[in-house]
Subunit: 237 residues, 4 copies
Amino acid sequence: MTAQLDTYPQAVRDAVARTREVVSALHAELPRWGLVVWTAGNVSQRVVVDPAAGPGEHDLLVIKPSGVTYDELTPEAMVVCDLDGELVDGERSPSSDTAAHAYVYRNMPEVGGVVHTHSTYATAWAARGEEVPCVLTMMADEFGGPIPIGPFALIGDDSIGRGIVETLRGSRSPAVLMRNHGPFTIGKDAKAAVKAAVMCEEVARTIHVARQLGEPLPIAQADVDSLYDRYQNVYGR
Amino acid sequence: MTAQLDTYPQAVRDAVARTREVVSALHAELPRWGLVVWTAGNVSQRVVVDPAAGPGEHDLLVIKPSGVTYDELTPEAMVVCDLDGELVDGERSPSSDTAAHAYVYRNMPEVGGVVHTHSTYATAWAARGEEVPCVLTMMADEFGGPIPIGPFALIGDDSIGRGIVETLRGSRSPAVLMRNHGPFTIGKDAKAAVKAAVMCEEVARTIHVARQLGEPLPIAQADVDSLYDRYQNVYGR
Amino acid sequence: MTAQLDTYPQAVRDAVARTREVVSALHAELPRWGLVVWTAGNVSQRVVVDPAAGPGEHDLLVIKPSGVTYDELTPEAMVVCDLDGELVDGERSPSSDTAAHAYVYRNMPEVGGVVHTHSTYATAWAARGEEVPCVLTMMADEFGGPIPIGPFALIGDDSIGRGIVETLRGSRSPAVLMRNHGPFTIGKDAKAAVKAAVMCEEVARTIHVARQLGEPLPIAQADVDSLYDRYQNVYGR
Amino acid sequence: MTAQLDTYPQAVRDAVARTREVVSALHAELPRWGLVVWTAGNVSQRVVVDPAAGPGEHDLLVIKPSGVTYDELTPEAMVVCDLDGELVDGERSPSSDTAAHAYVYRNMPEVGGVVHTHSTYATAWAARGEEVPCVLTMMADEFGGPIPIGPFALIGDDSIGRGIVETLRGSRSPAVLMRNHGPFTIGKDAKAAVKAAVMCEEVARTIHVARQLGEPLPIAQADVDSLYDRYQNVYGR
């Protein structure tokens, strides 16, 4: 634990406290929807202070500590890091995936939340290095096309983060399947990224099951575009 | 929220209150039986006033609000619409599938409940555009034959509702698999439609599993007819 | 409801009360292990009075009422029938499968419990009319060989019961997969029959999964015999 | 029950009491992660007294009693055996797999916990006698290569234990799939062995699903080595 957080303004410390609550509560959604086992998986959210607070408001993230079970997750157990992934506050080490989360926040300013799981069906597509084709209307709504495959990357430097960012920049999809690894999802906040993780596994599973007995029927690109546009704009997401 | 419900007779408002309770409670069956994730899926029921109340008694429905999680569903959160899908009472927007439910109620007066899910196995058959064959006695009991495929239809007008009604009018089945989309089920009330949604996924899953390792044995049409007749009449459904 | 139970000796009525408790509690195991949806499935147990009570002690069974959900099952809700399947005590109709249970009790005096489900994997093998091969040591322990297929039979007379009895008499297995229908299991009491239903689905699922990617390795008949003998005798079942 | 435990020093009896708590609590993880049904599966842990206690500190193990359901497992219900598998303390018989656990403790002094399950996907690979290939980064982390297959072995002597030990001695993997039987896992304590059992099923399932629709992409051996080394050393397991 460091006392570094004490050097931040009160407004930042308040925002950190709110973000710890949100991130802690959202972790419960991962086992609830069957996306993780044991201590796998992690959710993070960028710390957003009131816009009036000025510069510096976006330089922290809150994430799950490493190796802690889902029963032990409380707001206090969450870890605060800066956007280089360095520990700012917390009693435990940050998740070993923190560098990848931090890279995304540094390079995609519109992203406020990141989720990583090894959910079964999404990871199975990732193991084959095969994108999930867009053959369901709910997938057109949420993903606007296929869920793309990111590169194979080892943990330990910025390779995973760079693979996520480079793949998602060319895609409508909020999810990327890192090859031989598993899904990472993004959103305007952690809740949106968790929703994307849940929907990613749902469509990966359903389309896997469909393909076990034949080929799914395609949806015309114009229909995919129309569904995506309506869901993102008219429906108000 | 509108105050329009206040202009209805007390008997209608009482029936609305009872229907909110029923519809709210039945939503819990969807995650319980694994038919939905996140906020997906919806149950509606036609508001039925005492027959003595005369005309106008069937011009309302109660449905799930849009984008609300299954933990937040209470009778008060349910939304009341007329049979054109216009909001009559409720603090939130009705489900984006309300137009499809309303079309069914306008065009199938015998229907008192409608359910929509994206349950995995039923949706997988829908993705291939392939009806579920009737090869189980429990399926002959409940569906009286195959579960049919409805057309591909975009959200936003009456296309989905019309596809449901046109497909189910020529079928004993209370379930239709809308192509690339998912199942819609009907019943005399919402509970019957929920049961049909549960059974639809059950037979879609079991017959999928059977077909993974070979071809299921057919059931003779006379036996399907006999089972369906007994279950619907003798057994008293 | 009939008052017929009042004409039985007190010792029988006490045994009925104990059996209602057992059968009610065991029903909770069916949804717990994922063997049933909605109101499907049923457990029964023969009423066994103290041996000193003399003749007539084995002429009743306790079974689930028809169409009742798993949340509503209490000892009081259970139904008492004679071994012709006629109602002796209870506020509701007995399960529509009661005739099959009763036939088993009339014709297999060593059987004290019967369970019927439509559990997914067992029913999938039943849909193809294909016995489950004995390729797991736990299956050799419990079933002593393959799980056999029973004939196609319509509900409404003794066809299902006869199919169960004729198939199980020639088998070590306490489970039979009725063609296009699902599993029935037997045991010395209802708990043993529930265990057989749980294990039947477990081995049907595991061997299905094994066969999806190739052929399981066989177990030599002498090893199957040795495992079965040890588990049934040495292990003390 | 024997009074033999009373002849041990107080420090050993205290360590036994602590181990009973640990082993009892860890059994709840098996049904939680879907690894077992009914009374199947068992966890054991070597009794470790404070190093100051000197020789004899490693001659006991605590294991699940035979045929007890997961609802009935309490610290008091756990059974204490010596490393020949003979009962030292407990009201019930030890698990019929105790001989295999005891053989592992006698022959692998670095092992402090052993787990056995029949988890579905791991057992399916075991039924085909096919090792699980290492095609996921999480599998490289935890297993450092494939999960190997052990020999077919009958219960009743040291065959199973010997098969486990001989297979695991030549492998980085803490899990072995005993042919036609199921997985055994080891760890420095029971918690580590339970984690290995959970991860074994997770990778067996994910790679099974991946292979259903094609071949997973391989991971280069140097990358497997690098991931394993980092996870076991840098990450601090």
